[in-house]
């Protein structure tokens, strides 16, 4: 593949990940290559929860990268996935986000597919009154839906355009598997609802945001003041061997200032809620961590902040915008008090999040700021220039690790 370089563009210094050129966030050729290599390449992309597909015939429409796909259960109850594109003329045939069906029929010429994606019906295939029709050698078996590889692990479904990928747990790596199975321990999940944002920034800025614990102690008054996530707390940043996945793990601290908090202008010791029921967290997992933010290449953030649990699926639209699609969940065996607690804490997150709202706003401002300057670069030197795990959160190592893997995958 030809390198993506234009004469006007500053090259990305070989193998450096402490600098990231801004053309990476604006260039349409880069975006097109990302769709091919990152999202439709050798990766397990998050597509949903098994709780969303409870029975044979259940289906869900979503996207991988900017490409619409459908995930369903066939008659035998097995998970299947296809590109949401009719094999005839390209129609996005599945128009509902979720539902139950026995077959998929394209609305245009009613080509009909079974739940394994096989083409089962072509109206007028033999013509009408001996006229027209498809050629005699037209073989429906050659015109099924484009299939995806699909796998599920403890209630979470991933799909890939590549059919010879390693197993999902091998893909995760050991540390990430531990934290994945901390939330997804095999218990039945209960979907609590959805929230969707169209954020006007490049999709990578979302990953950078969640791989960057440094900002949380400074930007988010809510997190800082209530000690939900702060640089002076016991915490770790962990990656897998490739650097593509990341983990921010931390333990809740107290609402008080100390020598360690002197740079946190946003720490407000006197800040109190008029109704403290909003933040009434209880411990529910096997270890003492109170927040684990897991980023899984290429499109998923798993959020466990106190008792609010959510999948945040990153759905790029174009270089300067992405949809962030949130699925909030709990467990089927949650009691009413726990469900209420999760619903209250959801105020911190999503489209009007007391915390995450800061992030969607700052991502737009980042895009606004960098877009006119493709030849300038971001500086990622907090915590050094390496990509090693750390026992603190004053670091941008997880962003650097992400770009190490990104450069390899993108051949950039």
């Amino acid at each position: 593949m030809d390198p993506i370089v234009t004469p006007a563009r500053t090259p990305w210094a070989a193998s450096r990940v402490d600098r990231v050129p801004y053309w990476l966030y604006t260039d349409v050729d880069v975006f097109a290559r990302e769709m091919e290599r990152v999202f439709c390449g050798r990766s397990w992309a998050y597509v949903g929860l098994t709780a969303e597909l409870p029975e044979a015939g259940s289906f869900k429409a979503t996207v991988i990268g900017n490409r619409p796909v459908v995930i369903c259960r066939n008659r035998e109850g097995e998970l299947r996935g296809f590109v949401n594109r009719c094999a005839h003329r390209g129609v996005k045939f599945c128009r509902q986000r979720q539902g139950r069906t026995n077959r998929f029929t394209c609305p245009y010429h009613q080509w009909t597919y079974d739940l394994n994606g096989a083409l089962k019906g072509v109206p007028f295939q033999r013509g009408v009154n001996g006229q027209g029709g498809m050629p005699a050698d037209f073989d429906p078996a050659q015109h099924g839906l484009t299939p995806l590889a699909v796998t599920a692990h403890n209630g979470v479904i991933f799909a890939s355009f590549v059919h010879d990928l390693e197993s999902f747990t091998d893909y995760l790596g050991e540390a990430n598997q531990y934290y994945f199975e901390r939330v997804f321990d095999g218990r039945e999940l209960r979907v609590l609802g959805y929230s969707r944002q169209l954020i006007r920034g490049n999709w990578k800025l979302m990953f950078e945001n969640i791989k960057d614990p440094y900002h949380a102690s400074l930007l988010h008054v809510f997190l800082v003041s209530f000690g939900l996530f702060r640089a002076d707390q016991e915490s770790q940043v962990k990656m897998d061997a490739t650097g593509r996945h990341g983990l921010l793990v931390s333990r809740r601290g107290e609402q008080k200032a100390s020598a360690a908090t002197r740079d946190m202008a946003n720490l407000r010791e006197d800040f109190a809620l008029a109704d403290p029921r909003l933040l009434d967290p209880v411990r529910e997992f096997k270890d003492a961590a109170t927040v684990v933010m897991q980023t899984l290449w290429p499109n998923l953030i798993i959020q466990q902040q106190s008792n609010t649990l959510a999948m945040r699926q990153i759905q790029p639209r174009d270089p300067s915008s992405f949809e962030l699609s949130w699925t909030f969940f709990g467990y089927a065996d949650d009691d009413e008090a726990m469900t209420t607690r999760r619903l209250r804490q959801a105020n911190l997150m999503s489209a009007s999040g007391l915390v995450s709202g800061d992030d969607s706003e700052v991502i737009k401002l980042t895009q606004d700021g960098l877009a006119p300057w493709p030849d300038e670069t971001a500086v990622l030197e907090m915590g050094g220039r390496d990509t090693e795990d750390t026992e603190h959160m004053v670091t941008e190592a997880a962003i650097r690790a992400f770009y190490r893997h990104y450069r390899e995958v993108m051949a950039l």
Partner: protein, 162 residues
């Protein structure tokens, strides 16, 4: 409640309540917004698909005037966002049922949002399903207010309540 005049007065009072409610969000002071609700209340901004599918997650959920006040504090003091002007347009008020002490209403809303360097845009469209009570001071207040929004894909961030 009987007679055309009573109905007209009721409609006027509720209409006035909604107009002042919208003004508190658009022109402030935002600190007065919780006073449009009863002490114990239910306020939710919920995507229409969640509402129709029976999923309880709201993008904003308050269960008391205290939680509403906390949201106001967040908007005024703790959240970081691009400055903006909003204009809430509340239309098509329907009184579903009413008595001297309470009313159930529905109304449509659309919110025009103006960011400093951009043209106005429709930030949100939807409808309210509300229950109001007449308090001891004679004022109508929301006991329950559900803002169910059709525009489920939110443009960046909802900062100010609906």
């Amino acid at each position: 409640m009987s007679g055309d005049l009573d109905r007209a007065v009721l409609f006027y009072e509720l209409h006035d309540h909604y107009a002042r409610y919208a003004a508190s969000l658009d022109d402030g002071p935002l600190e007065q917004w919780p006073d449009f609700f009863t002490e114990e209340c239910r306020y939710e901004i919920i995507p229409r698909d969640n509402f129709e599918l029976g999923f309880p997650v709201a993008v904003m959920r308050c269960e008391s005037r205290g939680m509403l006040a906390d949201r106001v504090t967040a908007v005024l003091e703790t959240m970081m966002f691009e400055p903006r002007y909003l204009r809430h347009h509340i239309t098509d008020l329907r009184i579903e049922s009413a008595s001297a002490a309470g009313a159930e209403t529905r109304a449509n809303f659309s919110i025009i949002e103006v960011l400093p360097d951009e043209l106005p845009r429709i930030a949100m469209v939807g409808h309210y399903r509300d229950r109001l009570e007449r308090s001891a001071d004679g004022q109508w207040r929301f006991r329950e207010k559900l803002a169910i929004f059709d525009s489920v894909l939110v443009a960046n961030t909802i900062v100010v309540p609906v």
